[in-house]
C-alpha cells in the first residue's frame, strides 16, 4: 500500500466555491484506494470491537427469535395491543424501520441523479442499511397479522377459497410498495456491488473466497462495452428508485391518511412522512458511519466533509418535519373541525403528552444545533444528536399511531395503550437483526463503492495529465 504525499495542505472543509473540495483524502493512486477500503475485509481477523458488537447483536437477534416464537405459540395477546389501540408497537416499529431505509435510496438514487459526487463514499453502506431496515420493517406486519401461517393471504395468489385481496385497501398498496421497494433496493445494491465483488474475487487469497466472490461477481471483467450498458442500467435504476422512494413512505402514510380517524385523515401526511423518513434515515446513516469509519479506518473516504453534508440534510429535513408539526396544528384549528382540533390538543397536552414532547424536543429542537459549524464538525456531538433524532422519530410514529387510536370520536370508546415487556424486547430485538446483518455486511462485502470512488478521483480523468493539441483530436 502506497500513499503519495500531498504537497500542499488541502482543506476539505473549505467553503470557498472556487476550489472544489477533494472527495477523498491522501490517496492519489487507485491501488491504494482498493487496498485501504478492503483492508478490514481482507484482514485475517476483524477488530475486537467487531466481535463485541457481533456477540451483542446476535444475542439480541436470538432474543427476537425466541420472542417471535413465544408470540406465535401464544397469540398477539402477549402484546399491549387492545381495542381501540389495535395498532401498537408492531405498526410503530414498521413505520420506523421503513423510514430508516429511505436515506439509503435517497443517497444512492436522488443524489446520483443530481450528480452529487460526494455520495460515492457513503452510498454502499447506506444502501445496505436500507435493505436491512426494510427486512426489519417487513417482519412486523408479518407477525402482527396474528395467524402468521396465513401471511400469504397478503399476496394475490390463486387459492381454493376463490378469494382475492382487496385492492382498494391501502394496506394492500403497502404490500406492493414495500415489496417493490425491497426488490428494487436489493437490485440497486447488488448491481452496484458487482464490480467490487470482482475486485474481491481477483484479490482473493484462498479458493473459497475466490469461488464465493466469483459466483456473485457473475464473471465481471471490467469490459468497457459492459461498463457502457452497466452505467445506463445504473442510471435507469436511479431514475426508477427516485419516484419509488418518494412513493413508499407516501403509501405507508396512506395507511393512516385514507382512514377516517381524527389526526390521521390529513392530506399533509405523504410529504410529511417522506421528509420524516429521510430525516430519520440520514440520522441512522450518521449513527452507523461515525463508528464504522473509525473502526474500519475509512476517514480518508468518509471525510468530515461528508459528515458535515449529512448533518446539513438532517437539519433541512428536521426543519421540514418541524414545519409539518406546526402545520398540522394550524390546519386542525383552521378546519374548525372539533374532533380534529381535539386530536391535536390531546396529543400535546393529553395522556400521551410526554411522548409528544419527547418527539418535539428530539426532532425539532435537537437538529437545530446543526446550524453551528462547530457542532457539524464534532463527531461526538453529531453522534449523540443522531441518536436523539432516531429516538424522536420513533416517538413520532408512536404519537401518531397511538394517540389517534386511543382517543378517537366517542369518549366512551377511549382507551389506553401500554406496551408489555414482549413489545419492548421485540423492538430491541429488531435492532439485533439489523445490527447483525450490518456487521456481517461490513465484514464480508465491500463497505464502500470502490469502483465509483475511483471514478471520482482526479486521477480518473482521462484528460487530466494530457495535452491533446500535441496528439491531435482523439
Amino acid at each position: 500500500m502506497t500513499t503519495l504525499p500531498i504537497e500542499h495542505p488541502i482543506d476539505e472543509l473549505s467553503d470557498d466555491p472556487r476550489e472544489r473540495a477533494p472527495l477523498i483524502l491522501d490517496h492519489d493512486d487507485f491501488a491504494s484506494v482498493t487496498a485501504d477500503i478492503l483492508r478490514c475485509n481482507e484482514a485475517k481477523k476483524p477488530p475486537k470491537a467487531w466481535y463485541v458488537a457481533f456477540v451483542l447483536s446476535f444475542s439480541m437477534l436470538s432474543m427476537l427469535g425466541v420472542l417471535i416464537g413465544y408470540l406465535i405459540f401464544t397469540g398477539v395477546g402477549v402484546w399491549g395491543n387492545n381495542n381501540p389501540a389495535m395498532w401498537g408497537f408492531p405498526i410503530v416499529n414498521f413505520v420506523f424501520w421503513v423510514g430508516i431505509g429511505h436515506a439509503g435510496t435517497l443517497i444512492s438514487a436522488i443524489l446520483f441523479l443530481f450528480r452529487q459526487k460526494w455520495r460515492t463514499s457513503i452510498n454502499r453502506f447506506a444502501e445496505a442499511m436500507t435493505i436491512f431496515a426494510v427486512i426489519c420493517a417487513g417482519l412486523f406486519p408479518g407477525i402482527h397479522i396474528g395467524r402468521v401461517w396465513l401471511a400469504y393471504w397478503l399476496f394475490p395468489i390463486p387459492n381454493q377459497m376463490d378469494m382475492w385481496p382487496q385492492f382498494r385497501s391501502p394496506l394492500l398498496w403497502d404490500v406492493f410498495a414495500v415489496g417493490t421497494y425491497f426488490t428494487v433496493s436489493l437490485l440497486f445494491w447488488y448491481v452496484g456491488m458487482i464490480p467490487d465483488l470482482a475486485t474481491m474475487r481477483d484479490r482473493a487469497t484462498n479458493k473459497i473466497k475466490a469461488i464465493a466472490y466469483g459466483f456473485f461477481a457473475l464473471g465481471w471483467r471490467g469490459s468497457m462495452r459492459h461498463w457502457h450498458r452497466y452505467e445506463r442500467a445504473y442510471l435507469l435504476l436511479a431514475a426508477l428508485a427516485t419516484p419509488l422512494v418518494l412513493s413508499v413512505h407516501s403509501v405507508v402514510s396512506f395507511d393512516f391518511a385514507v382512514s377516517q380517524l381524527p389526526g390521521w385523515h390529513t392530506t399533509i401526511f405523504p410529504p410529511y412522512f417522506v421528509a420524516g423518513a429521510i430525516f430519520s434515515g440520514f440520522a441512522m446513516v450518521l449513527s452507523l458511519a461515525i463508528p464504522a469509519r473509525e473502526l474500519w479506518g475509512l476517514k480518508d473516504f468518509i471525510t468530515m466533509r461528508h459528515l458535515e453534508n449529512m448533518c446539513k440534510i438532517v437539519l433541512l429535513t428536521g426543519s421540514m418535519v418541524g414545519y409539518a408539526y406546526a402545520m398540522e396544528f394550524f390546519i386542525a384549528w383552521y378546519s374548525g373541525e372539533v374532533y380534529e382540533s381535539f386530536a391535536f390538543i390531546n396529543r400535546a397536552f393529553g395522556q400521551y403528552a410526554w411522548a409528544y414532547w419527547i418527539m418535539v424536543s428530539c426532532n425539532v429542537i435537537c437538529p437545530q444545533l446543526f446550524w453551528f459549524k462547530a457542532i457539524r464538525r464534532n463527531v461526538w456531538v453529531m453522534f449523540i444528536i443522531t441518536l436523539f433524532v432516531n429516538l424522536g422519530m420513533w416517538f413520532e410514529r408512536f404519537v401518531i399511531t397511538v394517540t389517534s387510536l386511543a382517543n378517537d370520536f366517542l369518549p366512551s370508546s377511549w382507551g389506553w395503550f401500554e406496551p408489555t415487556w414482549v413489545d419492548v424486547l421485540t423492538f430491541v430485538g429488531s435492532f439485533g437483526l439489523f445490527m447483525t446483518l450490518f456487521l456481517l455486511f461490513i465484514r464480508f462485502l465491500p463497505i464502500l463503492a470502490i469502483a465509483e470512488i475511483k471514478g471520482v478521483m482526479p486521477a480518473a480523468d482521462p484528460h487530466a495529465h494530457h495535452d491533446h493539441d500535441e496528439e491531435g483530436q482523439p
Binding site: D29, W173, T199, L218, G219, G222, R225, F254, P462
Partner: protein, 212 residues
C-alpha cells in the same frame, strides 16, 4: 507521454516487470492484451486502435473511464427501450390483476365461470381507478427495474462462466488499477506480429498473449 516507468507487478513472478511477450508463445491465441497504467493512456490507445481499423477489441478497466466508450466507438445501448416495454408490461399487469381479482365476472363459453372476488366497500365501484393507481405505479417500477438488471446482464452476456481474460493470471489487476486493451485474434485485421508491433507502438506497460 513520458517514458513508461516499469512498476513492479505483484501478481506474477515469471512476468516480473517485463515489457516483452512471455518467452513461450501461446499456441491457442485468443487475443493480445496491452496493459496501461493511466486512464489517459488507454483513452489514447483505444482511439488509435479504432482509427487503425480494428473492430474486435475491448478495453478492460477498473471503473468506467469517462468518454472511453465513445472513443472506442461503442454503439449506444438499446437497454432503455427494453426497459420501457418492461415497465409498460408492469402497468398492464397491474391493471389486469386488479380488475380481474376485484371485479371480474364472466362465463367462458357459458360453461366455465371466471369470477373475481367482488367485495362492496362503502358503495364504491368495483373498478375504482384512483385506488388502483398505487399498485399500477409499484408494478411498473418493479418490472422496469427487473428488466433493467436482467436486460443489462443479458446484453452483456453475464453471468459469464469462462473468459480468456478471467483465465489469465496476469489480468488480475484489471479490477484494481490497471487498464487493459485487448485485440482479439478474431479481428479480420489481426496478425500476430503486426498487431503486436502496433500495440508496442502505443507504449504499454507490457503486452500479454491471451490463451483461448
Amino acid at each position: 507521454m513520458s517514458a513508461p516507468t516499469p512498476e513492479p507487478i505483484a501478481m506474477s513472478q515469471s512476468d516480473h516487470a517485463s515489457n516483452q511477450v512471455a518467452s513461450e508463445p501461446v499456441t491457442d491465441l485468443w487475443g493480445l492484451a496491452a496493459q496501461f497504467t493511466t486512464p489517459a493512456a488507454i483513452y489514447d490507445a483505444a482511439s488509435k486502435v479504432r482509427s487503425a481499423g480494428y473492430r474486435w477489441f475491448d478495453c478492460h478497466v477498473p471503473f468506467p473511464v469517462h468518454g472511453l466508450d465513445k472513443a472506442m466507438g461503442v454503439q449506444y445501448t438499446i437497454l432503455p427501450v427494453i426497459v420501457f416495454f418492461g415497465g409498460m408490461t408492469g402497468t398492464m399487469l397491474a391493471i389486469f390483476l386488479q380488475v380481474f381479482t376485484n371485479s371480474l365476472e364472466l362465463n367462458l363459453w357459458a360453461i366455465v365461470p371466471v369470477v373475481g372476488y367482488q367485495f362492496e366497500v362503502s358503495g364504491k365501484p368495483l373498478i375504482s381507478a384512483p385506488a388502483f393507481v398505487p399498485v399500477m405505479f409499484e408494478l411498473t417500477v418493479l418490472l422496469s427495474a427487473l428488466t433493467t438488471v436482467g436486460g443489462m446482464l443479458f446484453l452483456n452476456k453475464l453471468p459469464c462462466l469462462y473468459h480468456p481474460i478471467l483465465k489469465s493470471r496476469k489480468m488480475k489487476r484489471i479490477t484494481d488499477d490497471r487498464f487493459v486493451l485487448v485485440i482479439e485474434a478474431a479481428d479480420p485485421q489481426f496478425s500476430r506480429s503486426k498487431t503486436e508491433a502496433f500495440l508496442e507502438s502505443l507504449d504499454p506497460e507490457r503486452i500479454v498473449e491471451l490463451e483461448a
